[in-house]
Point group: none
Chain length 415, copies 2
């Protein structure tokens, strides 16, 4: 039996786009991890009639409904009173919740007031889920074998309640089989080309393994999913399939799950004891930030230079002024001189550079917005490539950064 | 008449929690900005029956339905063929789309194949919305005055299509009144205490202004919203209400909206014709990346130096080696020398620096992980401050970057 769930997130701030709804993803990931399939996700505003309508509909269609939001001290208890109505229950004071709220506020030096008192009122028919990290309790309702759980909207409170209270009860309540997701990260092939290259591999997949392509600026992720299975044997089966795929396109496999290009390079530089310096023009510090975000980067990251102006390319990196004048700042020659310059002044083993036009202005017929030259310099010499990196500023910066790290990885591996 | 919309995002990756659905927020914000109320948001998987069910339901309930996802070259055109079915239309080749896809791939050096060809097939009854930033076209459908728009799931492609194609058409198609949201950011008061302190102010609000509390870890945002109004006069009315609130809790007001610190500095530097250079150690390029992400940054951003190693601090910025030896790399003296050095070598009006311990290792009893020195140098002199920026590497980098930009803003305004 497939156990199906619906996730409902409540809050005007979600519907007007003021916040990105990370709770829905966090809940879905957790449900999947214990074998519950999320079939639908819905967001609605802070209105009793909308909440009643959405919850009543979900209660009929799905085994499990998880709700977050609408529970804070200033939310007028819309969610709680609406749930009491749906389950024809009255509201009662829960002394354990009241004591907990009072203790918690005291510890933070905050006075306990009327608004906090209202947080201890809950529908009589529910099971209270103790929220040790906040003042709004979780609530568990049941009708005809269907479960409705209401959780606070503060992300880490929701996460702890899911992990500590909700998931263990769901495991006990339902006979759950497993859902397996494994993701392989590829780089260097556009989605359509990748699909062509692995068409035969794809068509040989058994029907219980579902393949999904997830393209982004610099990588394409391939996910294999299996629902309602014996987890261990399917995980092994997926590993074998991915191993066969690796043999087809060995140079395009970055790793698994959340592997990134920069993490792969970080690993290579660290294990080989090599060092890195970066000279960025159009990517504006993004490449340096990718590396320095990782713990341990200080072992190999010697210098980053964001040389936006021509003068700084000359003064800091030693790019000859006449090279810029003759070929333009966005040129193969300048990219090479930048990579060589930053390597020379830092003493790093590898020097990487970017110079391009991120837009929206500054493009010409010859060098349109999105034109980026990328170079990597090492003891083995200097290579440079030109990438047309799109038309949107943010996208150009991200793609060019990704392409530069990819070229660096390639040079480290092949030299 | 309230014009109501539903946003439907499609993709198994959303339902399993592999990605956070940022598109739904981006679409909702844009619809609100032109006066369209988003009443519901739904996410469903890559399955034709689910898509058909959700779209058919939304078509009956709402004036406007915006769909994203399910359009890539490997998605089997589930969304397109489902929409063709709903609108009883056959599929036809669109030559303009075919030409565009071919040109776009050619520019990136990618071969045009069968999968790409399928991207130019569209339901006959739809109006094609030209996607200059990608290969999947947008599609506009109408039935009995109800609009359904299908957009690609790549965020920046969706954003450009919304701004360039969808919003102008919706404005023309509906007689829209305005929705106004204004947010004031408070700090230092817990939600329940804040609510108590401003209770009188809150109860004096007229019925057409809706107040929402949005608490997070360190701030509580207060949003005033008005629907279906004359935008300008209500915006003024909200400003006056917030001004009254500011007088009640002056020391707890941080600012408005999402206005970022770096956007404020960008504006100040641009309007005053001043230039900037940044020397980063622990923030690793994040400050440079914040500025260079904004179009027009090249007018004032002269140089960024990510001087992670001691040697690069000496060689590139001219920090005296004995200063590092005597006080340590993470010290007021080194922060000052870095800010002054980067200002000197770049010729910028302002030099900003950071040096600290981002962790997880490298901390000492004296200088624990999270210790960051920040300096700003200008013609008026150099100032330096120390910030304890937390315990998590990502958080330390973000907080220290924010504090550095805040200090810079302060110096620009007050000098």
């Amino acid at each position: 039996m497939t156990v199906q769930a619906c996730v409902i997130t409540i809050g005007d701030e979600i519907l007007i786009g003021q916040i990105v709804d990370t709770n829905a993803a966090g809940i879905s990931r957790r449900l999947n991890a214990i074998g519950v399939t999320v079939t639908e996700r819905t967001s609605i505003g802070d209105r009793g009639d909308r909440i009643a309508e959405a919850v009543t509909r979900a209660l009929q269609l799905y085994d499990i409904t998880i709700i977050t939001g609408g529970l804070g001290p200033t939310k007028d208890d819309i969610t709680k009173s609406t749930l009491a109505g749906i389950f024809s229950s009255d509201m009662v004071r829960n002394q354990a919740v009241a004591d907990h709220v009072r203790t918690m506020l005291q510890a933070r030096g905050i006075a306990y007031n009327e608004l906090n008192q209202s947080q201890s009122m809950v529908p009589r028919c529910c099971t209270v889920l103790f929220n040790r990290h906040g003042t709004a309790p979780g609530m568990w309702f049941e009708r005809d074998g269907h479960i409705v759980v209401s959780l606070p909207g503060v992300p880490f409170e929701m996460e702890h309640l899911m992990d500590d209270e909700v998931l263990p009860r769901l495991r006990e309540r339902f006979d759950l089989r497993q859902i397996v997701h494994r993701t392989m990260i590829t780089s260097g092939l556009a989605e359509s080309i990748l699909a062509e290259r692995i068409a035969e591999w794809e068509s040989s997949l058994p029907p219980h393994l579902h393949l999904a392509y997830l393209p982004s600026a610099s990588v394409v992720r391939l996910r294999l999913s299996a629902y309602e299975v014996d987890g261990e044997s399917v995980a092994n089966e997926i590993d074998a399939r991915f191993e066969a795929l690796r043999k087809l396109i060995p140079q395009h496999i970055l790793g698994f799950e959340n592997a990134t290009l920069q993490a792969a390079v970080h690993e290579l530089l660290t294990s080989r004891g090599k060092s890195l310096a970066v000279a960025e023009s159009c990517t504006g510090g993004s490449i340096a930030a990718r590396f320095t975000a990782m713990p341990g980067a200080s072992a190999y990251f010697l210098l980053g230079a964001v040389t936006y102006s021509n003068r700084s390319k000359v003064d800091v990196l030693g790019v000859p002024a006449e090279t810029i004048e003759r070929y333009g700042a966005v040129s193969e020659q300048v990219a090479r001189a930048m990579a060589e310059g930053v390597r020379r002044i830092s003493g790093a083993d590898y020097g990487v550079s970017t110079t391009g036009i991120a837009g929206p202005s500054g493009g010409t017929a010859d060098k349109p917005v999105g034109t980026v030259w990328i170079a990597v310099s090492s003891a083995a010499g200097t290579v440079a490539v030109m990438k047309q990196s799109g038309t949107d500023r943010g996208q150009i910066i991200e793609r060019a950064s990704g392409a530069a790290v990819a070229l660096l990885r390639d040079k480290i591996i092949n030299n």
